[in-house]
């Protein structure tokens, strides 16, 4: 008995030692250390540095680390342009998410219904994602450049006039209206949907809905047919099967898609820059372009850093709850 206990203790001691510093573990630690250091310095270090810069009054080439507190944040939030950017990014994100999720789910359901030539359709729909946003922006800018309509239209307007749908012609990316354009006291930017943003959203949805479809398709294929079969046996209609079985089981996919698409849309830069350049006026300007312009054209380094931190916080608002949710479900498992 006594002997057995000592053996136990010895064994557990050895086990503990083994748990902390086996050769495997040492190797693993050695392997991850460089990337941990690299990420600590080049990601979190620089985030911290950006945050620090945003509290200084650095304007110009020469660094000026005079501490000014949150003054730069006040400046940018008071500026008409940044307020417009925040409005635009909210509008863009909302419509982009709705468009991608709706279209992606519809496409996935269509392909999941075992159509002939499924692989071909799948490839066709996913293909736009392989194109860079720059290319998408240039091409869709051509499509949505209105020309001098109705007399001398270009792009989509030309197509409309050729097929007798001339009444559908619109100013597209040059439309300067903000609808409904409410004015709130204290906010300089008008509240509403900038019309010029809609073509940009169309281009972005065109590019990313195939990717959403692929995610949903994977989700759909992961739902056991028996579940749906069982529901049908119980007398559920196809709509009820979709509503009560399929959709709830796709929820994790939706969440992942929202995170991935959401952070793309909050950081969008290249698509807007090539498609509209932020115009007309600031109607399609986004925080990404603001940061670039203010930092590298205007040399207002501190204000650019402040705007970058605001962008980071916006993305964090989206991602942190997801990480927490993930951690919880991980524990549950």
């Amino acid at each position: 008995m006594q002997q057995a206990r000592t053996q136990d203790v010895a064994a557990s001691g050895r086990a503990r030692r083994r748990r902390w510093l086996t050769r495997d573990r040492a190797t693993a630690l050695l392997m991850i250390t460089p990337s941990v250091i690299a990420i600590a310095v080049f990601v979190y270090g620089f985030i911290g540095w950006t945050g620090y810069i945003s509290l200084t009054k650095w304007i110009g080439i020469k660094a000026d680390y005079t501490f000014v507190g949150l003054q730069n944040y006040g400046t940018i939030f008071n500026a008409l342009r940044f307020q417009t950017d925040i409005r635009n990014t909210i509008v863009f994100t909302a419509f982009f998410l709705i468009g991608c999720l709706g279209l992606g789910l519809a496409l996935a359901l269509m392909i999941d219904s075992r159509v002939r030539g499924e692989a071909i359709f799948r490839s066709i729909y996913i293909f736009p994602m392989a194109i860079s946003f720059i290319v998408t922006g240039v091409v869709w800018a051509w499509i949505f450049t209105p020309g001098k309509f109705p007399q001398d239209p270009t792009g989509l307007n030309l197509l409309f006039s050729k097929i007798g749908l001339g009444f559908l012609q619109s100013a597209w990316i040059t439309d300067n209206r903000v609808l409904p354009g409410y004015i709130l006291s204290g906010i300089k930017a008008r509240i509403g949907v900038p019309m010029a943003m809609i073509p940009v959203i169309v281009a972005a949805v065109w590019q990313m809905s195939g990717f959403t479809m692929a995610m949903y398709l994977a989700g759909l294929r992961g739902i056991p047919e028996e579940l749906r079969e069982a529901a049908r046996v119980d007398g559920a209609s196809e709509w009820q099967v979709f509503q009560r079985i399929t959709l709830p089981l796709l929820q994790p996919i939706t969440l992942s898609a929202v995170i991935i698409l959401g952070h793309i849309s909050l950081k969008i830069f290249d698509l807007v820059l090539t498609m509209t350049g932020g115009g007309p006026g600031n109607a399609t300007d986004v925080p990404g372009i603001f940061v670039y312009d203010i930092t590298f054209n205007a040399n207002k380094i501190a204000q650019g850093a402040a705007a970058a931190v605001v962008m980071l916080l916006l993305v964090a608002v989206l991602i942190v709850p997801y990480l927490i949710y993930n951690a919880r479900t991980e524990v549950e498992r």
Binding site: D24, T27, L30, M31, T33, P34, A38, I59, G60, I61, K62, A63, L80, R81, V138, A141, W142, F144, T145, P146, G147, K148, Q151, D152, A171, W172, I173, T174, N176, A196, L273, T274, T276, G277, G278, G279, P280, G281, N282, A283, Y292, D293, I294, F296, N297, A298, N299, K300
Partner: protein, 479 residues
């Protein structure tokens, strides 16, 4: 499995070593390898609907009607030999930093390098160019290098007020101007306007003109119109063209500076050269002048005669509308001529020029220049480079290719095309005023605010909003 682990263990130290090496590797100066981007950039500029092109970085193909610069430089060889006496000799390096990567700009730069190599044999020129963003990318790289105390020997910057951002990193060249006699061959007013806090910091290699009206001579002839000399005449002409269903004024907006470019010409016409120049000194009372509102309203009225899709097209597309006969006029700097020539258009047939309405007799200039870095790694070679930049043979090699005129008034006019010869004459006799939009009168910080305010106005003409935005931007004039 076991094999894989052993292999990994062997590999790990190498991986770490590689990472360390990568981390400690010096920030190698961006050298000519990056100019490989040039060709792709050139093509994207040529398609003109894409990248944000600013005049200096634009696809201004050089007017090459003038003599071949290589022939020119060899003809000047004797003068070159005399001036090379004091320049650096032997072997060494010289790093020149610019964003001239395509078209006539790159050709012009190379022509200047040829002159330099002839005068300073044995010195290797490191052509550090950074393409893209109309110089924005280059400026970002330059900023990093200056902060890291690794300046190139000499870099490109708009002459005049824009240099203010760099004065901490540049050596004053006022004495150099005297030694080289540049103060005698460049217009006094130009030298005054180059002066920053009592010193001149950069050597201008060229002059572009901002206040230019380009019009389609066929349209004007068919409608019995003459180019407008005043703003009032502009509106008469515009009304006549509009009645015929022709867009009177072609205008861009996608490159970000088109609206402010037009506005600077309107300001010049409204204020006259002296008061116009005072606007950019950072004095807030200058902007309280009621003529500011007059200029804004004139601008707003001009916009009603411009194409409505302006925010979707660039300045080059607007220029194209003029030679295509779709629009009567456009107001753009004289890099537009380089664009016309690159499209095979002919002067007097497809396009014709005049000073922008109300600004005849005033030359609204902008200029590219090179300075000498404080703590330049190769100061002698860099000084020799600046001598080439300021010299007649250097400027006459560069400018015919770039499509601009020399900053010196003693240029060999036979090397230039007809428009540039006209421009050289005007430069010699006109009153000079510095361009605000293109860096001669303002800093980058101010320009960004100015561009944005005018783009907003172009989309949504609200006079009071623009006036207050311009007043808000005044502090940016001095930083």
């Amino acid at each position: 499995m076991l094999y894989a682990q052993r292999w990994l263990r062997l590999f790990a130290p190498f991986a770490i070593l590689a990472m360390l090496l990568a981390a400690c590797g010096s920030t190698a100066p961006s050298t000519s390898s990056e100019s490989s981007n040039a060709s792709s950039n050139a093509s994207s500029n040529a398609s003109s609907n894409s990248s944000a092109a600013q005049p200096t970085a634009a696809a201004a193909e050089a007017p090459t009607t003038a003599a071949e610069p290589t022939a020119a430089t060899s003809a000047e060889a004797p003068t070159a030999a005399t001036s090379s006496g004091s320049t650096a000799s032997g072997s060494g390096k010289l790093e020149i930093f610019s964003w001239w990567t395509n078209g006539g700009e790159a050709d012009g730069l190379n022509a200047m390098y040829d002159v330099y190599k002839q005068q300073n044999p044995g010195i290797e020129i490191v052509n550090a160019t950074v393409a893209g963003g109309a110089g924005t990318n280059a400026k970002a790289v330059l900023q990093t290098r200056l902060q890291g105390n690794q300046p190139p020997d000499s870099w490109q910057v708009h002459a005049g007020r824009e240099t203010l951002s760099y004065v901490d990193y540049l050596q004053p060249l006022t004495q150099f101007f005297k030694d080289e006699g540049l103060d005698k061959v460049m217009p006094k007013l130009l030298l005054d306007q180059l002066n920053i806090n009592g010193e001149i910091y950069t050597v201008p290699v060229n002059i572009h003109r901002s206040n230019m009206l380009w019009y389609n001579p066929k349209i004007f002839k068919d409608n019995n119109l003459t180019p407008p000399k005043t703003l009032d005449e502009f509106f008469t002409v515009a009304e006549a063209l509009k009645a015929k269903g022709i867009t009177p004024l072609a205008m861009g907006g996608k490159d970000g500076f088109e609206a402010s470019h037009l506005f600077e010409s309107v300001l010049l016409a409204t204020f006259g050269p002296d008061d116009y120049t005072k606007l950019w000194t950072g004095d807030e009372t200058a902007w309280a002048d009621e003529r500011v509102l007059t200029a804004i309203n004139t601008m707003g009225k001009m916009l009603t005669y411009a194409n409505s899709d302006r925010s979707a097209i660039g300045w080059a597309d607007a220029a194209q509308m003029v030679i295509d006969g779709k629009a009567g006029m456009t107001i753009m700097g004289d890099w537009a001529e380089g664009y016309f020539l690159s499209k095979g258009a002919k002067g007097h047939e497809d396009y014709e020029w005049a000073a922008s309405p109300g600004t005849d007799g005033v030359f609204l200039w902008l200029s590219d220049s090179f300075g000498l870095a404080k703590g330049a790694p190769h100061p002698d070679a860099a000084t020799a480079w600046l001598k080439v930049c300021g010299s007649k043979e250097g400027q006459d090699a560069f400018n015919p290719k770039k499509g601009s005129i020399p900053a010196r008034t003693d240029a060999d006019k036979s090397k230039y095309d007809e428009y540039l010869q006209w421009s050289i004459d005007q430069f010699g006799k006109d009153k000079l005023a510095p361009s605000a939009v293109h860096g001669a009168a303002t800093t980058n910080t101010y320009q960004t605010a100015f561009h944005n305010a005018l783009e907003v106005f172009s989309a949504n003409p609200d006079a009071t909003a623009l006036a207050s935005a311009l007043t808000e931007a005044v502090p940016d004039l001095t930083r």
